[in-house]
Symmetry: C2
Subunit: 280 residues, 2 copies
Amino acid sequence: MLLNQLTIVGVGLIGASLGLAARRLGFARRVVGLGRNPASLEQAARIGAIDQGCLHGSEAVAGADFVVVCTPVDLIARQVLELSKDCKPGTLFTDAGSTKSLIVKAIETGSPSNAHFVGGHPLAGSEKKGPEHADATLFRNRWTVLTPTPRTNPEALAKVREFWESLGSHVRIMTPEAHDATLALTSHLPHLVASALAGLLPASAFDLAATGFRDTTRVAAGDPALWSAIFQHNREALLASLGATERRLADFRNALESSDWNRVQDLLAQGKKVRDALGS
Amino acid sequence: MLLNQLTIVGVGLIGASLGLAARRLGFARRVVGLGRNPASLEQAARIGAIDQGCLHGSEAVAGADFVVVCTPVDLIARQVLELSKDCKPGTLFTDAGSTKSLIVKAIETGSPSNAHFVGGHPLAGSEKKGPEHADATLFRNRWTVLTPTPRTNPEALAKVREFWESLGSHVRIMTPEAHDATLALTSHLPHLVASALAGLLPASAFDLAATGFRDTTRVAAGDPALWSAIFQHNREALLASLGATERRLADFRNALESSDWNRVQDLLAQGKKVRDALGS
């Protein structure tokens, strides 16, 4: 794969890591970063994640053949639709948003005339933010979900798949709805639960929160505004997952209240079986 | 601190790590391991965690001046009471159990005549088991809680404190009840919640469970029998913590159902504040 110009919208952890990887692997002649914050663009350029930073969308996409939008989920659809007005006909757009249904629907409804859009979500990242944590290997051996619809251009899908595979990622194709239902359970729900647990801890107990507590609540350090937007985008699937969690906690409560230790051990064994299967 | 003979009851991860550290630091002339499984004792001896393995309690404690009981919480009190019949007068006993109230009460009720017992809990360990994961630095810079009562011998407490400090641990003194209430929140509840989350994941979603899910559920790989015993020992405090969690999840549910995104963001911010304060 060789791109003439890769444009990355949003040079946070994901965007800067993409740029770093693309430049190191040499599959884009030029990497342009689009952002609102000059300091972030400068930092992304300094660490070698982009060749050039732009504050204006029209300038950033005019020469692009491939655009990846790595901004918060509530901005992505609008940005794709706006930027598509200034790009060359046939420019490929994809994104790295943690939710897919609303984004894909909004973009398909807007029918960008010049752009081919394929929804995407690399399952990589961390509770850290900003280009200073960029890592060229962030996507290697991780899954990236692509969410084409009947309206998706098959060649665009093939190119976007090739893009992520070039970064070392495994690609999984799902509908936007299946993506959101699964990620509600594997990502959005754990974030909510971790945050709930962390929020319960009084300062007097901080010293006695050891590795177990730290692991279980690690993701709660994520940005509340980002995650609130993700929850908003995936509200129904998240509520369904939350309901399943509440029922399972009630199972534990009933077993504890009735001192049914076989049942407690059985519930713990079910959790262990899954966790062991996942590996480290 | 120099001990003539340190006896470790149970040479799993905690017991073998203790032995390894004590032998490396040279503060026990001799380290004896007591266990039921000859293979574990042999492995503990092979990795240098103990000088000698014993299958019989009377043999293991006859020459001991310091005994640390590192077995599951449901065995500790009985073992201390039994072993105290065969030890020299004045032998110090402590334990590494994850709960304290029931253990301390049972031992004080049994009034071992030869032994001085001080309840203890090093906040170290992991979801791993067995001497093969022993680590001489496991306790370094970790907290160890000691739970004396009005009946505890002050010199015994001072010696047990010195023991843990010699291993690099920070010591915190609490009542058994305060220990159990705090650990319900910092350790037992996260285990229950992690297990509940893990148990919800269908096999079809395993590939899409990334770092966040893995961190949040890591402790669920712990031994169900061990943890069921811990839950049994700390049932009331755990139920209280579970209730607090259920109420907080209901707060999230209400905010999501009413699309109150300021409230969602506020709840997430409360969790982030705590998690940031804990550090990595």
